[in-house]
């Protein structure tokens, strides 16, 4: 492993869990995803980016919500892309195998039964859910070239690890890669002052959901 990579693995906190932050996932389920589904009713295509996906629980949680709430899901073309700077967590996410403490935390037990299969002390994400997600290593501070246009970008609990230069270039890139009528989601305790140049809060100022501003 490159030294740089080894250092960044050691320095970053990968803490995450399924459905982390109840209010965020409730809003996704009740407002944001229904809106996106309505807006994409004719193209039946959704592109979602879990930027800084860590071990993948965020991406799989969104996949589970879509499985639960999307009518005629088979007719839809859905891709959820998870990226992280850490090779280890990306491999873990791709594997889709979770331990007891991981499935114990935040995941409603009915979802566990529906979307995961147990073998001994491991729980494996079921193939149909796994097939909705792709994972790749990517540094958010380096070019985002090659990424598609997304309908929903989750940029949660990562901004505070980045220096201001990287935050600025990342937010510009996120704006560039977000559909005009798409949404950006930040973490619950994330500072958002520098977000508001490019994005506007969806509802109230306290919202974690943002819509891109039109840049002329």
């Amino acid at each position: 492993m490159h030294l740089y990579r080894a250092v960044s693995e050691a320095m970053t906190v990968h803490e995450t869990n399924f459905f982390r932050d109840r209010t965020t996932f409730d809003a996704l389920r009740d407002h944001i995803l229904p809106k996106l589904i309505e807006r994409r009713r004719s193209s039946r295509r959704l592109r979602i980016w879990s930027a800084a996906c860590s071990t993948g629980q965020e991406a799989y949680s969104v996949a589970m919500l879509l499985r639960e709430h999307l009518p005629q899901r088979e007719d839809w073309d859905i891709r959820i892309m998870g990226t992280d700077i850490s090779q280890q967590t990306v491999e873990y996410a791709s594997e889709g195998t979770y331990s007891r403490p991981e499935v114990n935390c935040g995941l409603p037990v009915r979802m566990l039964l529906r979307y995961m299969t147990r073998s001994e002390e491991q729980w494996q994400i079921n193939p149909d859910l796994r097939a909705m997600c792709d994972f790749q290593r990517r540094n958010l501070c380096v070019s985002t070239a090659g990424l598609p246009l997304f309908d929903l970008i989750l940029l949660r609990n990562v901004l505070f690890y980045l220096d201001s230069e990287c935050r600025t270039s990342l937010l510009t890139a996120a704006h560039h890669h977000l559909a005009e009528d798409g949404f950006l989601v930040l973490g619950e305790i994330e500072q958002a002052e520098d977000v508001t140049d490019l994005f506007q809060p969806n509802d109230s100022a306290a919202s974690l959901f943002y819509r891109p501003r039109k840049i002329v």
């Binding site: 114990n104 935390c105 935040g106």
Partner: protein, 128 residues
């Protein structure tokens, strides 16, 4: 908020009481299912029952069955807390009327998150 902790291990009951206390939640304890039913009849309104599965006298599954059938406090949430993790067993517990399932061993945070899933508002466990 009031919680009924049902477990045959006094060590686990003590641990739960401590954890819940740190979240600002008070609790009563029962050592098995029939003990729990007695307490429910006399003490009334609990918001949540944390129920072990394998206990002497009356086990957890039997306990929810009797409780749900007798319509004792239908709005009280029941969360199974057990080392068992077999899917068919979890399914059976849900069929009998359990609302959630927490596997032992668990962390304070995973207990809190499961309580939040049940719509119970609890603060983060204070570090003491």
């Amino acid at each position: 908020m009031k919680v009924l902790v049902v477990d045959d291990s006094s060590f686990i009951r003590e641990y739960m009481r401590h954890l819940l206390g740190r979240m600002g939640v008070s609790c009563e304890e029962a050592a098995d299912g029939s003990d729990a039913l007695e307490i429910l009849k006399t003490h009334g309104d609990f918001d949540l029952m944390l129920l072990d599965l394998n206990m002497p006298v009356m086990n957890g599954l039997e306990c929810i069955k009797v409780m749900r059938r007798s319509k004792l406090y239908p709005e009280m949430k029941v969360m199974m807390v057990t080392t068992e993790a077999d899917h068919s067993l979890i399914l059976r517990a849900l069929d009998q009327g359990a609302d959630e399932f927490l596997m032992k061993p668990f962390t304070p945070e995973s207990l809190r998150q499961k309580m939040v899933l049940l719509g119970l508002s609890v603060c983060s466990p204070q570090l003491i």
